[in-house]
C-alpha cells in the first residue's frame, strides 16, 4: 500500500511541476490524436450525413458493416496498416513506418467508423419536420442539408469528442506503427507500457492520471453535447 501511495504522490508532483519528460509525451499524444480526429471528422461527418440523408440500396448493409468495424481491435488495425507501410508493403517506399504519420493513419482507420456511425445516429434522430420546413420555406438541397446538420450539431460534436477519447487512450496502433521513439512517437499509452516494463511506476502513474483526466473531461463534454442533442430532436 505504501508503494502505491508513494507512487501516487510522486506522480502528482511530476504533474504539478510540469516535468519535461511528461509534457513531451503528452504533447506527442495530443498532436497525433488531434490530427487523426480532425481528419476523421472531415471524412466521417459528411459520409455519415450522406448515408443518413440518402435512400439507396444496401444502406442497411453498409450501416451494419460500419457498426461491425466499431469493434475492430487496435492490434488488428496496426497489423493491417503495417502490412501496407512496412518495407515489403506497397507503400514501403514512403518510409511511413515508426513515424507519427503511421500512427495517425492507423488511428483514422480506428475512429472513422465511430464518427460515421454516430453522425448517422445523430442525423437520423432529427425530426423529419425540419427537412420539410426547410424545403417548404424555399431552401434548396444544400441549404436543407445545412439546416439538418445544424440541428444535429450537438450529436455530431459528441461523435467527434467520443472519437478523440478513443484514440488518445489506444495503445495497439501507437505501439505497432509508432515504435515508441522518445520525443517522436512515444505517446502516453506506449510510454506507460514502457515505464511499466522498466519498473518505473511513478511516470506510469502520472501518465495514467493524465489519461484519466482526459477521459473524464471527454465524457463530460460528450454527455453535455449528447444531452443538448436529445433536447433538440
Amino acid at each position: 500500500m505504501d508503494f502505491l501511495t508513494d507512487s501516487f504522490f510522486s506522480a502528482l508532483l511530476l504533474i504539478w511541476t510540469l516535468d519535461h519528460n511528461l509534457i513531451e509525451i503528452i504533447n506527442v499524444s495530443l498532436k497525433v490524436s488531434s490530427v487523426s480526429t480532425f481528419v476523421s471528422a472531415l471524412l466521417g461527418v459528411p459520409s455519415g450525413f450522406l448515408i443518413a440523408f440518402s435512400e439507396f440500396r444496401g444502406k442497411r448493409l453498409l450501416i451494419t458493416i460500419l457498426n461491425t468495424l466499431l469493434a475492430l481491435p487496435t492490434v488488428v488495425i496496426g497489423l493491417f496498416v503495417y502490412a501496407f507501410i512496412s518495407r515489403r508493403g506497397i507503400f514501403g517506399a514512403f518510409d511511413l513506418l515508426y513515424t507519427q504519420k503511421a500512427i495517425i493513419i492507423g488511428q483514422i482507420i480506428l475512429i472513422i467508423p465511430i464518427v460515421t456511425t454516430m453522425t448517422i445516429s445523430a442525423v437520423s434522430r432529427i425530426d423529419d419536420r425540419y427537412r420539410k420546413a426547410a424545403l417548404t420555406l424555399g431552401a434548396n438541397l444544400r441549404q436543407t442539408a445545412w439546416v439538418i446538420i445544424r440541428e444535429a450539431r450537438f450529436g455530431i460534436v459528441a461523435a467527434v469528442v467520443m472519437a478523440f477519447g478513443r484514440v488518445i487512450a489506444e495503445v495497439g496502433i501507437s505501439m505497432m506503427l509508432g515504435g515508441n521513439a522518445k520525443g517522436f512517437t512515444r505517446t502516453m499509452t506506449t510510454a506507460m507500457a514502457l515505464e511499466y516494463d522498466k519498473g518505473e511506476f511513478v511516470l506510469s502513474v502520472a501518465l495514467g492520471l493524465v489519461l484519466l483526466g482526459v477521459s473524464f473531461t471527454v465524457n463530460i463534454f460528450c454527455n453535455y453535447f449528447q444531452g443538448k442533442g436529445r433536447g433538440s430532436s
Binding site: 417548404t136 420555406l137 424555399g138 441549404q143 445544424r150 440541428e151
Partner: protein
C-alpha cells in the same frame, strides 16, 4: 384557378390515402379543407405544397401543369408555403427563424430586419424577438411559424390544423392573421380543420374530404363501430361506451358510421320508447346561419343541427338534459 387536380391519388404500401377525381381551388380565397382525422387532409396539403409527389394524376398550378421534376419544384415551393400541424421551429431565436427564408433568398440585411420586425408585429410576437424558439408555448410557436411562412412572401399559404392545439386567445389571433393576409396581401389561404364552426366562420369556400375522397357534404358524428345481431334478431351498430344504434345494414365487419346532424331529433322530453334514443346534456351551442348547432354529451359527443325557430321554441340551454333520437335514415355506414 389556383390549383386543379385531375385523378390525383396517393398510395402508401398498397393503401390509398387520397383519391381525387377532380378538385379545384380558387385564387385569392380562404378555403377550408374539412374532414375527420384520416381523411387525407395533411397528405393533400403536402401535395399542394409540392413536398410530396402524387402516386398518379396531374396537378395544375395557375393554369400551368406542374412538372414534378425536382429542380423545377424548388421554384414552385418558393411560391407556396406550408405551415405544419404542430410546426417545428429551428433551434435558434425567434428572430433567426423568421429571418431564415429571407436569408436564403439573399434579401439585403436592412430589408430583412425591417421585414422580420413587421412580421413580428403582425403576429403579436415582437416582445419575443430574441427568445429561444424552443421556449415558446404551442400558440406562440404557431404564430412564429406563420410569420416565418409569410417571410417567404408566398402567393399561397397552406395551414394544417392551425388552431387545433392552441388556446382561445391564440385562436382568435390566428384567425385575425388569416383574414388580414388574405384581405390585405391577397394571399390565397388553404387551411385544414375538423371543426365545422371554424370553417363556417373563416372560409369563403369549403371542401369536404372523407377517407381520401372529396365528399358532397361533410360527414359528422363519425364513430368506429361493429355490427352485431341481437337475440331479438335485429342488427345493431355497437359504438364506443357500449351504445348501440339499430340498423338495417347487412355489413358484418368493423365499420365507420356517420350520423347526420340535421336528421337527429332533439327534445327536452323523451320521445315515447323509440329506438336509438339517448339521453344527454347540452355542452355547447353555436348559431350557424339559420340553424343552431347543439353539441350534446350523451356519453359520446353528438352534434345536432336544428332550425333556430325550433330551438327557440324548446327553450333549451347549456347544461340542460335532453333526449336525442338517431333515426335509421340518419346513419350512414362506410
Amino acid at each position: 384557378m389556383l390549383y386543379q387536380l385531375n385523378n390525383v391519388t396517393k398510395t402508401y404500401n398498397g393503401n390509398t390515402v387520397l383519391d381525387l377525381k377532380h378538385l379545384s381551388f380558387q385564387e385569392g380565397k380562404v378555403i377550408g379543407l374539412l374532414g375527420p382525422n384520416g381523411s387525407g387532409k395533411t397528405t393533400l396539403l403536402e401535395i399542394l405544397a409540392f413536398l410530396l409527389p402524387p402516386t398518379s394524376g396531374e396537378i395544375w398550378f395557375k393554369q400551368e401543369k406542374v412538372n414534378l421534376n425536382l429542380s423545377r419544384l424548388m421554384k414552385l415551393r418558393r411560391k407556396v408555403v406550408l405551415v405544419q400541424q404542430n410546426p417545428i421551429l429551428f433551434t435558434t431565436t425567434v428572430y433567426k427563424n423568421i429571418d431564415f427564408p429571407l436569408k436564403i433568398r439573399n434579401t439585403p440585411k436592412a430589408k430583412r430586419i425591417e421585414m422580420v420586425n413587421a412580421l413580428l408585429e403582425l403576429v403579436g410576437m415582437a416582445s419575443f424577438r430574441d427568445a429561444g424558439a424552443h421556449t415558446l408555448s404551442g400558440g406562440q410557436t404557431q404564430r412564429v411559424a406563420i410569420a416565418r411562412a409569410l417571410a417567404c412572401s408566398p402567393e399561397v399559404i397552406l395551414l394544417d390544423e392551425p388552431m387545433s392545439s392552441v388556446d382561445v386567445e391564440n385562436q382568435i389571433t390566428i384567425e385575425r392573421i388569416i383574414r388580414e393576409i388574405n384581405r390585405i396581401n391577397s394571399i390565397s389561404v388553404v387551411f385544414t380543420t375538423h371543426d365545422m364552426v371554424q370553417t363556417s366562420r373563416l372560409a369563403d369556400e369549403t371542401i369536404f374530404l372523407f377517407e381520401g375522397r372529396a365528399a358532397e357534404t361533410i360527414h359528422e358524428n363519425i364513430f368506429s363501430a361493429r355490427i352485431e345481431t341481437a337475440n331479438d334478431g335485429h342488427r345493431y351498430c355497437m359504438l364506443p361506451n357500449g351504445f348501440k344504434l339499430r340498423t338495417r345494414s347487412e355489413k358484418t365487419r368493423r365499420i365507420r358510421i356517420s350520423i347526420s346532424p340535421g336528421r337527429i331529433r332533439i327534445s327536452r322530453n323523451q320521445f315515447s320508447t323509440e329506438e336509438n334514443t339517448l339521453k344527454g346534456r347540452i355542452v355547447q351551442l353555436n348559431q350557424e346561419h339559420s340553424n343552431v348547432r347543439v353539441l350534446v354529451d350523451a356519453g359520446i359527443p353528438l352534434n345536432v343541427l336544428i332550425p333556430t325557430e325550433l330551438f327557440d321554441s324548446q327553450c333549451m340551454g347549456i347544461g340542460e338534459d335532453v333526449w336525442i333520437t338517431c333515426p335509421e335514415e340518419s346513419i350512414d355506414i362506410f
